[in-house]
């Protein structure tokens, strides 16, 4: 590429870079605002007075969170579900994607299986059958109710399948000529070559798991055992929609103190930390993986 060195071109470059920088910083704004709000006096936050700098600085939101045991228990349950689901979906996604990536010659019925997979991406049975199925498997109120229903994400399977198919066919043929079994080819050739795609789908699985809250409401019978996002959602909703008929004026005031905007901001900040910690490690694979998976021969 030939770079133009004229003054006009440089100014244009500066403008472009500058505006991109501003846009990048803009994406940080909500986070900075949330941090500022979480460190502000509750009354100031409730008055929408906080922008990007804390008003009447206080740690009280965080100390209030750490004093109530519920938050960390919920945090632990969320970590548990993410780890279990992450590991399970890693293996199950590979086990499903690999056969589906085979050519019709090796796997004649492949097309029909893919239809079934894609069908589940477009349609679902509805809430009641979904619930009854999980209930009849005896999973209600266990960690497995949160982990198993999402253990084979169809979208991830398709993504990984496409990635597998983008790998050179010659590798597969050479391995077969050398007498490698499909199992061996999958784990020793395809998987090591597919780290970008695997990192991507695992990240998808983890983020989905971490952010899910509705399943916690429905599948877990006691708020004591809610995962973090359900726990947070419950606190946020409780202040907005709390059952007017079960609260007294004193409780209303109490509730507005225990779940004001600044406390909610603190909850969101702490809820973000694990994802923030994981992202940098997986992100370089992430972009790479999605792009490669999207092209097909």
């Amino acid at each position: 590429m030939v770079r133009s060195r004229t003054l006009g071109a440089r100014i244009a470059d500066m403008l472009i870079v500058g505006s991109l920088l501003v846009l990048t910083l803009l994406t940080l704004a909500p986070v900075v605002h949330t941090i500022a709000e979480s460190l502000s006096n509750g009354a100031a936050a409730a008055a929408n007075a906080v922008s990007f700098w804390p008003i009447r600085f206080t740690w009280s939101s965080y100390t209030a969170l750490f004093n109530g045991g519920g938050f960390f228990r919920a945090f632990g349950i969320s970590v548990e579900r993410v780890v279990l689901n992450g590991v399970l979906s890693f293996f199950l996604t590979i086990l499903m994607a690999y056969p589906l990536s085979q050519s019709p010659r090796n796997f004649p019925a492949r097309r029909y299986y893919i239809w079934v997979v894609v069908f589940t991406m477009l349609f679902n049975g509805g809430l009641i059958p979904w619930y009854v199925t999980i209930a009849h498997l005896g999973l209600i109120n266990t960690i497995w109710a949160l982990v198993l229903p999402g253990a084979v994400p169809a979208f991830n399977v398709v993504l990984l399948m496409n990635y597998f198919r983008s790998l050179p066919k010659e590798l597969d043929e050479a391995a077969r000529l050398d007498g490698a079994s499909p199992w061996y080819i999958c784990w020793k050739i395809y998987v090591p070559l597919s780290w970008p795609a695997l990192a991507t789908v695992t990240l998808f699985a983890i983020v989905t798991q971490w952010n899910s809250f509705f399943d916690g409401f429905i599948l877990i019978n006691n708020p004591h055992n809610y995962p973090l996002m359900t726990f947070i959602q419950q606190l946020v909703v409780e202040t907005q929609s709390a059952n007017l008929s079960i609260l007294t004026p004193t409780q209303i005031a109490e509730l507005s103190r225990t779940s004001g905007p600044s406390l909610n901001a603190a909850k969101f900040m702490i809820g973000m930390i694990p994802m923030l910690a994981i992202y940098p490690f997986l992100q370089r694979y992430f972009i790479h993986g999605i792009r490669l998976g999207s092209t097909n021969e």
């Binding site: 907005q240 007017l244 008929s245 609260l247 007294t248 005031a253």
Partner: protein, 579 residues
């Protein structure tokens, strides 16, 4: 999992509350969760409403409160599906399912209570529908009115008629009687009591809350007419009392489907509509028939009035695009001078005082068009939550017996029942208890508190009011620095500032009873569409985006979309109940 749990599309058959914004001590009337009841068009607040002349303790023996609390011979296992409540207000070691109240009921009645599920109120209906679909209904649940009717018609509920007669204590019966047993009637299907209803208390209608310190600054008196409200708002704005962006009167915020009226909630224009005899979003009685308030001709002058107020800049110019929380924030931030809301509002806007110790609030009866006009306000639905017992359960009276104990202890009539004197537990901690109170408890409590404060002695007070009395004294001691313990300020202001205008204007108030209904499940999709049409059109007329004539078109459209059919259904439903 891209197409996973989160994307499951499910609309609960009925949402418990579609408008969810602010918290109060009795439920705001949800648009589709209306209770079905038949009633005379209006009720004068006559002495008939004061069946309970006094809440004062001591006039009845403990057995009157307790009624039948005899233990069962063999331990009875009871499975429960209930709502969870946060915060519990209990010591850290105790929980909603494991506390002294639960143990008391277990021991006294020889029962063993277990909870199949505890669900936040927002998700309770969904969870219950799933559990019922899975044939796992617990022995006792708390449901909304539509669910109760559906379960009763499906033959899944026990008949509680006999159990109520036998097991409800005289005290519990007197609570229902304070509103002429109306709550019980909503749970009576074909002459059989199918559920234990809660009771919604009255007097939660909107007052006008005004910044008293602002009035004093401008040497103004609290307004007594709507014209006065407009004048005061203009003065507040022109003197920039809340800064350059001063708002005269904040609105309810746009929380669809119904933005304009917020019974028992923050900011609604209910009383302005009421001044014109209009009752948007309620099913009202027009010549003996239920009609939908939003499409009645009385709406037109009310909309015109609000439109003029909006045009004059009296109402927050952005009220139609802000959320309710954002409107509350304007109040909390000291930018707004007036808002509509019920008596308990100080607990909701206490941040105003925290942010500015000089801020003081005064409440007046929300004015009518003239100083002595009749004040039209809405009565609450008589009941919103229903305790139901599974058909075939051997001891249908168990919930009533538990309530006998709970209610007596909760209201402090049993000195031995005060297990956590240093805490302030919410009533969800008492097992199987729902809100039960005298219909007129708010003005009654106020009157007795006022008398006790005048005599400097809480001796005459009912136990629960003694606590309030003490808090009011603490608030008065803190008067110079209310932010020191804002909870005391909020409680004192709610009772003494908030209820005062209700009590003073009792004779002027005119309660309109909504002929509320359960809507046909099959028409829910249309109903949602009709409500958003209504919300949008009415807001656009007020904010001047549409001409006043748009109202006429709206009424036609509303009828065409299914309004006529739904109205017929509602009328038929009410007829069926009045048999």
């Amino acid at each position: 999992m891209r197409k996973g749990l989160m994307s499951l599309k499910f609309k609960p058959l009925i949402t418990r509350r579609q408008k969810v914004t602010v918290i109060g001590s009795a439920v705001l009337l949800a648009s589709t969760t209306l209770g079905s009841m038949v009633s005379a068009q209006t009720v004068r607040l006559t002495s008939a409403h004061y069946l309970s002349k006094s809440l004062g303790g001591g006039s009845h023996p403990l057995s009157w409160y307790f009624g039948n609390i005899k233990p069962y011979h063999k331990t009875v296992n009871v499975s429960i599906g209930w709502f969870s409540s946060l915060p519990t207000g209990l010591p850290p070691a105790a929980s909603q399912t494991n506390n002294a109240y639960v143990r008391t009921v277990d021991k006294t009645l020889n029962v063993h209570l277990t909870w199949n599920f505890l669900e936040p109120f927002s998700e309770l209906t969904t969870k219950e529908q799933l559990v019922v679909a899975d044939n796992q209904m617990p022995d006792v649940m708390v449901v909304n009115q539509q669910q109760m009717e559906q379960l009763a018609h499906a033959g899944k509920l026990a008949n509680l008629t006999g159990a109520f007669k036998r097991d409800a204590s005289p005290y519990i019966k007197s609570l229902y009687a304070s509103n002429h047993d109306r709550a019980l009637k909503t749970a009576t299907i074909n002459g059989k009591l199918m559920a234990i209803p809660d009771t919604q208390i009255g007097y939660q209608w909107n007052l006008l809350w005004i910044r008293k310190d602002w009035l004093a600054k401008l040497h103004l008196q609290p307004p007594t007419t709507m014209a006065g409200v407009i004048h005061v708002a203009k003065e507040f704005i022109s003197h920039h009392l809340g800064g350059k962006q001063t708002i005269g009167l904040v609105g309810p915020g746009n929380s669809s489907p119904n933005s304009l009226t917020t019974y028992n909630n923050f900011g609604g224009f209910d009383t302005i509509f009421g001044a014109f005899g209009a009752y948007p979003t309620y099913w009202i009685n027009v010549h003996g028939k239920a009609k939908y308030g939003s499409v009645q001709p009385q709406m037109l002058p009310a909309l015109k009035y609000l439109r003029a107020m909006y045009k004059a800049g009296v109402i927050d110019p952005s009220f139609a695009t802000r959320t309710t929380d954002q409107e509350v924030a304007k109040v909390a931030g000291g930018q707004a001078g007036m808002f509509f809301g019920p008596w308990w509002m100080p607990g909701h806007v206490e941040q105003t005082v925290e942010n500015n110790p000089n801020a003081t609030w005064v409440a007046v009866a929300a004015p009518g068009l003239t100083a002595h006009a009749r004040l039209n306000v809405l009565a609450p639905p008589w009941s919103l939550n229903y305790i139901v017992v599974k058909k075939g359960f051997a001891h249908p009276g168990v919930a009533l017996k538990a309530i006998n104990i709970d209610q007596t202890d909760y209201r402090g009539h049993n000195p031995a029942g005060n297990f956590y004197p240093r805490y302030n537990p919410g009533w969800a901690n008492w097992p199987l208890l729902v809100q039960l109170d005298f219909y007129n408890s708010v003005p009654l409590q106020y009157r007795e508190l006022k008398a006790a404060l005048a005599h400097h002695s809480p001796a005459s007070l009912a136990p629960r009011d003694v606590t309030i009395y003490q808090r009011i004294l603490k608030a008065r001691a803190n008067q110079a620095h209310p932010a020191k313990d804002i909870a005391y300020w909020a409680e004192a202001a709610a009772w003494m500032t908030g209820v005062a205008p209700i009590s003073a204007n009792e004779k002027r108030y005119h309660q309109v009873e909504p002929m509320t209904v359960v809507l046909p499940v099959s028409m829910e999709a249309q109903w949602t569409q009709m409500q958003s049409l209504e919300n949008e059109t009415l807001l656009q007329i007020i904010t001047g985006q549409k001409p006043v004539s748009a109202f006429k078109q709206f009424v036609q459209q509303w009828k065409g979309l299914g309004g006529t059919k739904i109205t017929q259904y509602v009328q038929a439903h009410i007829k069926a109940f009045s048999k």
